[in-house]
Amino acid sequence: MTTLPNSGSDGSLHGLWRAIASQELRELWFSAKGLAVLFGYTLLMSVMSYIAASEASLNLLDARESVGIIVRVTIAFGTLAAMVVSADVISGERERGTLEALLVTPVSRRDIVIGKLLAASTIWVAVVVVSVPYVLVLARGPGVMADALLVTVIAGSLVAAALTALGLAISAISFSNRVSLATSFAVLLLLAAPSQLPAVTASGVLGSILIKANPVSAGLSLANAVLVDQKSWGSQWQLLISPSVGAVILTLVAIALSRRLELGGAR
């Protein structure tokens, strides 16, 4: 009989999230999926950076605003990509028939979710890496390189972590991949909507609460406040609360839902 290390009191094997994450990373980056996302993003960034730089040089757009746009696009696109990938990881496996083989192994459900979550998060990391040269080139003029990178890495990563976990949680409870992806996309649009409120409404009490309480609009607003409106980090720290809380709570929710990781589907 095989000797099994790392076994918990319930008999499941723990500490195998690394193996799950490695396999997920291979599937994400050795298949067309991850590379296609990056290619699309690189294309988008190239076009947007060219337009922003051209307009800034013609004084049609403030140079700081062009940096703000690029950083917000990075956060929005990276978050969307990470959420879409995470929304597929469990419901997609159900549909492709690969989940049952995973569920009959002694690896703990928690490790399955943690491994998949970490692998899906690498989409965000890759998007940030690709965005760095664009951000640096555009931010060099107005001298906001450090702020631009900090907003991207800190605010963007918190928002991405929250929504990657949310996507995975939706995927865990959706028995159809289509439902999971559609729901995730709808939730992201809903969360991003307050950041598009007119300035007058956004500065009101309700508008301010709407923006600060939801991680996506708070992250996007932070980019705007620090990079475009030249406000200090100290005065805008409240905008980091909901992304931070969202990242922690939604990650815990996704891990808690691992107990309900089921095959579902037909008889």
Partner: protein
């Protein structure tokens, strides 16, 4: 049965919402035994497998697998290997990395998982394809890879749902021979779901036939065939000039219930006998009389005939 039991299933039930897919199923499987679970579509076979492999929770009854109760699913999973009915594969992985990954999920160090994977790929005829991407594999190759994956942890009990699906006849034969050897030499128990009744008849020590969520017959193949209570029909072909003498001899045989001479086929006699009669009983008087027998075809004594009779298939009604 004297062997220790590795699967004990008592009054197991599975509900999907209000639909009862499995209704009070009980059976047991001994160490090193190959147990066939048969039945038409929607009979409940896959639900039984899924309950025993802890993928779904049973609605009633209980079971132990490899000595562990289903109430401790994490422990059960250590000792089982499973090939699900509709198994998917990651197309961008190579066969070897796929097996290494699953070996690691059973707590094997990567080098050991790799060496086991290589050995299994060799045994199932995929040795030269170990470093090829699964996306390039044919359906039969994927099925054999799935069997390799199910065996990577050297399971105590192996659950196989349609393991020869997509395999060519040679592949079916090799796979069944391999499973038979694994069961007899390594003492691994196998629970096999299949629609290919010939293969089940050939490899299974015992079987259970399910229909409508319950077991309608179980035992050895011979016991199940006998329990179906079917009379056998034997089509004999004798020397052309000996038909009349053969008919006389057969009519003298008390077990023969009906005789018919096939006018369309010279020398052919159709003999109906009571259930459970040994074919030798009707051949012996002909051989004693030196009547040359050209061919013998026994119908109604095969597992397939019993299966159709027990599950109320169209063949029975026709």
């Amino acid at each position: 049965m004297t062997a220790a039991l590795t699967v004990e299933c008592r009054d197991l039930s599975v509900n999907y919402g209000r639909v009862r897919a499995v209704d009070g199923v009980s059976f047991s499987v001994g160490t090193g035994e190959i147990f066939g679970l048969l039945g038409p579509n929607a009979a409940g076979k896959t639900s039984v497998i899924r309950a025993l492999t802890t993928v779904i929770d049973p609605s009633g009854g209980d079971a132990t697998v490899a000595g562990e109760p289903l109430s401790r699913p994490e422990r059960v999973r250590r000792y089982i290997g499973v090939l699900p009915e509709s198994n998917g594969y990651p197309s961008s992985s190579t066969a070897l990395s796929y097996l290494r990954f699953y070996g690691q999920l059973f707590g094997l160090p990567a080098p050991e998982a790799s060496s086991r994977g290589e050995a299994l790929l060799d045994q199932l005829g995929l040795g030269p394809n170990g470093n090829e991407r699964i996306g390039t594999f044919s359906r039969g190759m994927r099925q054999r890879l799935g069997i390799c994956r199910a065996l990577i942890n050297r399971p105590t009990v192996l659950f196989l749902d349609e393991p020869t699906l997509g395999l060519d006849p040679a592949g079916q034969q090799e796979t069944l021979t391999f499973l038979g050897r694994a069961a007899s030499e390594e003492g691994m128990s196998v629970v096999l779901c299949s629609h290919l009744l010939d293969e089940v008849e050939r490899v299974c020590d015992r079987i259970a036939i399910m229909d409508g969520g319950g077991i309608v017959a179980d035992g050895t193949v011979d016991e199940v065939v006998e329990s179906a209570g079917m009379g056998a029909t034997t089509r004999l072909r004798v020397e052309q000039g000996a038909v009349a003498e053969a008919v006389v001899k057969l009519q003298a045989c008390p077990e023969v219930t009906h005789l018919d001479i096939d006018a369309g086929c010279v020398g052919e006699i159709e003999v109906e006998t009571a259930s459970g009669l040994d074919t030798n009983e009707i051949l012996r008087p002909l051989l004693d009389a030196n009547i040359g027998i050209r061919s013998v075809d026994v119908q109604g004594a095969r597992l397939s005939d019993a299966f159709f009779a027990l599950t109320g298939s169209p063949k029975k009604s026709s």
